[in-house]
Symmetry: C2
Subunit: 219 residues, 2 copies
């Protein structure tokens, strides 16, 4: 477990916590580590939301399945990121999404009640954690807002450009690698894979970008 302390310290939830304090805190928060194979799910739609997850290794995808069984990718969570915190903090009974490992992964699950409830004894850090949680939730909110910005564009082309420019900005470089293959990107953007591929070709012919597999360069 100690091998992941670096990840945890870089995690926004534990911002400001000393390494020596982590062990005690994790116990206090009811933490348990879970190891997952690719495609293995951490929770499914309809499950109760009573924990917050921290990705230690690998990556986790948040998926939503619609009435007809069409699957869309809500987001992908990388090491050091949290997931499920909004649902558990809001106290929803049934999760509206599911979470599966995009790769072999390890995640830490924290009991949300222990995170939110101040305990008088050892942990003077609960209020710090709650403050951090505000930051995390606000940041997630921004991410959702950005996703919404993309999703509310009308055309495949506009969605692609909105996503790619955001990625370039995040990478602080016109060259970057995305965490999706074509099918997953289409699921993420909510468009047809074939139409998206065609649009990518067109964008390349127009000299707007270059792409090979998951690597992109905006021109």
């Amino acid at each position: 477990m100690k091998e992941f302390y670096g990840i945890l310290q870089a995690c926004a939830l534990f911002c400001g916590v000393q390494e020596g304090e982590l062990e005690g805190m994790l116990a206090c928060l009811g933490a348990r580590k879970v190891t997952l194979q690719k495609e293995e799910s951490i929770f499914r739609e309809g499950d109760p939301a009573n924990f917050v997850g921290v990705v230690l290794r690998g990556a986790v995808r948040i998926l939503r399945t619609d009435f007809y069984g069409n699957q869309s990718i809500v987001g992908q969570v990388e090491p050091g990121d949290l997931f499920g915190e909004a649902f558990s903090c809001a106290g929803v009974q049934a999760l509206p999404v599911s979470a599966v490992a995009a790769q072999p992964s390890e995640v830490l699950l924290l009991d949300i009640h222990r995170v939110l409830t101040l305990c008088a004894n050892t942990c003077a850090f609960h209020s710090r954690i709650v403050s951090n949680l505000v930051q995390v939730l606000a940041g997630k909110n921004l991410g959702l807002n950005q996703k919404l910005d993309i999703a509310s564009r009308r055309t495949t082309r506009d969605k692609l450009l909105a996503y790619l420019t955001a990625q370039a900005k995040a990478a602080q470089s016109p060259r970057f690698t995305i965490p999706f293959d074509r099918q997953a990107l289409a699921d993420y953007l909510g468009v047809e894979r074939s139409a998206m591929s065609a649009e990518l070709s067109k964008l390349q012919k127009e000299g707007v970008l270059k792409t090979h597999r998951s690597q992109f360069e905006l021109l």
Copy 2:
């Protein structure tokens, strides 16, 4: 100002605060009240995000303008609801959205730094406020998630049905009134007004719903 104390007490941010304590708290949080005419804006895209707003009367729409000037409605905020909290809590420099009064309105603006920073003297309630903020942010997160669920549907019909069933569920009744006219609903759903009107007609012919102006009934 006292006339709005009822609204504030019902507001999730002040949950658990006694009426007698409100006046002191508001002063401590740097609150100032603003009166707005219809269409008047509270903040615009690009403004700094250093406050959180509480709607006291009327309603506020959060708008996003895309590259071509097309406007879309991110959400509508009603009395007792907060807005802008995600951006200010996350500390973004430039707001990605703007906020305008959908009707003649009054809003309360709180200095975000005073909300987040614990002050040792009079206000023992800051930690309570921060806890409440976690709830609010998590709830907003859920709302965004739902909006994303709607926005990521492919067809106008599916978007309409997703939105209307969510509204019916929120109203706990198959009959409900929405806060939009047709154009605003189209902007909210991110579809063409005329195509949406046509789809609504079709849904009525099929016996799925009845609608007159902003009133709907799901069958």
